[in-house]
């Protein structure tokens, strides 16, 4: 008997007892799929792919994470700095959350445009909305775990939403917190729930797919499947198309992970949570901004919370609000317009949500919030009553096969794609506007060696910067995340690292007598702090705590340009500005009154390599060193990114060729 024969017998043996093979074949191979699905239908499988990516990266991260208020932040930094490929896995997870939402939002808007919520797909739609709600809860709790400033204050603000509930609000909030504020019990339970919910989502996704396979996929024409001529088997047609889609998607995802890993986050979250100080500008992650704008649009606390939740819950009522028998927006000229206005409205909401709570953003948020509900409660019901829809094609197969198909054949993808291009332009504009606004802060932009696709550090510059830190900054600023062994990356030999470490003393102990003792530092020791504790540091610096510099470049808007501009930004006090005693005037520091006196002057440091030592040069060198301290993985990240993206281009091109070959006869 041949091997395949034996394999088949084994498969049959299993299948007769548990028809799992039949089930998989039924739902992933034979599943009859409309032959005319366009690329907007790729986002369902992409969302499934992202769920798996998030679970896999999350599991590995959870094995290294410590859910305790004193250790969570540092355990995340340990993942970034010490765990093998930890930075990669964390950036995949962190940016994966954003990518997941991009994919799911597009998936939802596709459903909105093509009427995928209409009979017989109501339950499918509702299950999808449940997934969306679960995702939001999971994402929110995940953002709390690194225990940065945005984690703590985001958690505080969001949990306080429940305090708007009449009578029992405060009781609910206390219950959520497990204390009188967001604290260790909150972090612990959020970690547990953040771990649990993805598996709940996975279960609901199974229901979603089950419901989908019962009612079958909708399609760009929105008409029912009339017979076998309208469908093709899922495999190989849509498996290869989905794989090609995953390839394209991975390229975008990887560009973020390898070159802009923090572009979608907030610098404040690289400052450890501090329950005594709120960051000046609290904003949720981008995917919550439209809902945040609706919350802020209503001047009443309870009404605002209700409006925010209603914005999502109203989607459950869509099958009734839009009762038009025609599903696809392609055949609804006015619905199409309303759809795009609604999409733009969501972007406007997101934009308003990102802005501070002041005019004109409040008015903008209010108008956009009003329109959001107007769309669902007035426009859609009126349209479904009065709109004159265009004639529907006979069948799915007809317009696809027929050479002289009616307009919808060409237009079914174009409707959504054309508008999407306009939208992309708007999105770029929205991103570019705040970037332009940053120009007003007078940051002195520099050319840094680590910028760009292939950017690397200049070791000699890092060593000079380290010298500046040791001779100047380290008198007041700690760098508690950096060990002496790390400076080997600056080009020092092992012996040189030992020598540098040995020139410091650290406190160790207790010894056999129970006494603490001093000893020379060794490479595995962290940089000693200039002060025994924060209060001592404050007392010695006029009440202001010199911030730890380990993450300073990542923790400030503007990054290296901000740090450089701050160091060189001291100026004589303008006559119209009053400074409190003990403060110095700085052009870029928020509020301009800084406690740090000017430190870097021309010739303040002599470099052994004879490099220029004017104030700007010294400031650039120390900024480079601090940049390295913030992102020691950067060179490895760029190098791996180049290889990964080149590979993805090749693999995706291959998938595209295979897809064209397989689809050749269907088109």
């Amino acid at each position: 008997m041949t091997a395949p024969g034996r394999l088949n017998r084994a498969i049959d043996w299993i299948d007769q007892r548990l028809p799992i093979i039949t089930l998989m074949k039924h739902s992933a191979v034979d599943y009859p799929t409309p032959r005319n699905l366009n690329y907007w239908w790729n986002f369902g499988s992409l969302a499934g792919f992202m769920l798996v990516v998030m679970i896999v990266t999350g599991l590995v991260l959870a094995m290294q994470f410590t859910p305790h208020v004193d250790m969570a932040f540092n355990s995340v930094e340990r993942i970034m700095r010490d765990v093998n490929y930890g930075w990669l896995i964390r950036y995949l997870h962190m940016n994966g959350a954003s990518m997941f939402f991009v994919v799911v939002y597009i998936h939802v808007f596709r459903g909105l445009y093509y009427g995928s919520y209409k009979p017989p797909r109501e339950l499918l739609w509702w299950i999808g909305l449940v997934i969306l709600l679960l995702m939001m809860a999971t994402a929110f709790m995940g953002y709390v775990l690194p225990w940065g400033q945005m984690s703590l204050w985001g958690a505080t603000v969001i949990t306080n939403l429940f305090s708007a509930v009449p009578v029992v609000g405060d009781t609910i909030v206390t219950l959520l917190w497990g204390g009188f504020s967001v604290d260790n019990p909150t972090l612990n339970r959020f970690f547990v729930l953040h771990f649990l919910l993805p598996f709940v989502i996975f279960g609901v996704v199974v229901l979603h797919v089950w419901a989908l396979h019962s009612v079958k996929s909708n399609n760009p024409l929105g008409i029912d499947i009339k017979g076998p001529q309208d469908v093709i088997p899922f495999h190989p047609y849509y498996t290869v198309k989905d794989l090609f889609g995953i390839g394209v998607f991975l390229i975008v995802y990887c560009v973020f992970v390898f070159w802009y890993p923090n572009a979608l986050g907030h610098p404040d979250n690289y400052i450890q949570a501090n329950p005594m100080v709120t960051p000046p500008h609290i904003v949720p992650e981008w995917y919550f901004l439209p809902f945040y704008a609706i919350l802020r649009a209503v001047p009443d606390k309870l009404a605002g919370v209700i409006a925010m939740f209603a914005a999502i819950l109203i989607l459950f009522a869509l099958p009734w609000l839009d009762s038009c028998k025609v599903r696809s927006g392609t055949f609804r000229p006015w619905f199409k317009v309303a759809f795009w206005v609604f999409v733009i409205d969501c972007f406007v909401l997101g934009y308003a949500g990102a802005k501070p709570a002041e005019e004109p953003w409040i008015l903008m948020g209010r108008l956009a919030s009003g329109y959001y509900f107007l769309h669902f409660l007035v426009i859609l019901p009126l349209l479904s009553k009065y709109e004159k829809t265009r004639p529907l094609p006979e069948s799915i197969g007809q317009p696809v096969l027929g050479g002289d198909a009616p307009a919808p054949a060409g237009g079914h993808g174009g409707g959504l794609a054309g508008g999407a291009k306009v939208l992309l332009a708007l999105a770029i504009l929205a991103v570019a506007t705040p970037a332009l606004a940053n120009e007003e802060t007078h940051l002195r932009k520099q050319d840094w060696s680590w910028q760009g696709v292939f950017g690397t550090y200049d070791e000699a510059q890092l060593r000079r910067g380290y010298q500046v830190y040791r001779e100047v900054c380290s008198a007041c600023h700690a760098m508690h995340l950096i060990s002496f062994r790390n400076v080997g990356a600056l080009g020092y030999t092992e012996d040189a690292v030992k020598q540098i470490a040995g020139s410091y003393t650290v406190t160790d102990g207790p010894d056999d007598n129970g006494d603490m003792f001093e000893r020379p530092a060794i490479p595995s020791d962290r940089f000693p702090s200039p002060f025994p504790n924060e209060n001592a540091a404050k007392a010695a610096n006029g009440g202001a705590l010199p911030p730890d510099l380990s993450l300073i470049v990542k923790a400030r808007e503007g990054g290296p340009d901000y740090v450089f501009s701050l160091i060189t930004g001291f100026a004589p006090q303008p006559p119209d500005v009053e400074l409190p005693p003990g403060k110095y005037y700085n052009t870029v520091f928020p509020g301009h009154a800084i406690s740090m006196p000017p430190q870097i002057t021309d010739g303040a440091i002599e470099f052994p390599d004879g490099a220029p030592n004017n104030a700007d040069a010294i400031a650039r060198d120390v900024t480079a060193f601090l940049q390295w301290a913030s992102e020691p993985e950067l060179e490895e990240r760029h190098a791996m990114g180049v290889k990964t993206v080149l590979f993805l281009f090749a693999a995706t091109a291959l998938m595209y060729a295979l897809k064209r070959r397989i689809w050749a006869k269907v088109h």
Binding site: N84, Y85, L654
Partner: protein
């Protein structure tokens, strides 16, 4: 219908494309697994602690200390003349894990070994004053009754191997680096 599409395509071209796409995709997936597996290996901070330096000066003849190395106890014993003689007098061929004493020490005065029983990982007794030393004057594992001699070799009981000797270097007469 669908079958037509499959069969009409030029077979060799499609097969080649399919094989190439499967090979590239599969290879990419396999390579992508490595970072996740490697992340479970010891991290850089753990690896940085993988060697320790010990000052031997305070350890008098006949005394022993236990230091922690890679999360495990390491026995350092300043052996007496009698203990050294006893260890060297053993007929090596009769041992379960035949090793002459000279293969287990760099300097006969100093016996340095990992204090973990080779049976199932308990810490043998024999370091502290008053501890039982077993039938051979060395160490005795209370879990399952393995006896070790003054060279840390197993002489009796279920343990299959002698106590392990870690890699170590004498930096000076009184300074040793383990690991």
């Amino acid at each position: 219908m669908a079958d037509h599409a499959m069969n009409d395509a030029p077979k060799s071209r499609r097969d080649f494309l399919f094989a190439a796409a499967a090979a590239v995709g599969g290879a990419g997936a396999v390579v992508a697994v490595w970072p996740f597996v490697d992340s479970l290996n010891p991290a850089a901070d753990t690896r940085a602690m993988s060697s320790i330096e010990v000052d031997l000066a305070p350890i008098a003849v006949g005394q022993a200390i236990t230091v922690k190395w890679r999360g495990k106890p390491v026995f350092i014993r300043h052996r007496t003349e009698e203990e050294i003689k006893a260890a060297q007098a053993v007929v090596v061929d009769d041992l379960r894990d035949p090793q002459p004493d000279t293969a287990r020490v760099q300097k006969p005065d100093w016996l340095i070994m990992v204090g973990v029983c080779t049976h199932l990982g308990c810490v043998p007794l024999g370091q502290k004053a008053g501890d039982p030393h077993g039938d051979f004057g060395g160490w005795f594992c209370p879990c399952h009754g393995s006896h070790y001699d003054t060279s840390g070799r197993v002489r009796k009981g279920p343990a299959p191997k002698n106590l392990a000797v870690p890699q170590y270097t004498f930096l000076s007469d009184t300074q040793v680096r383990i690991g």
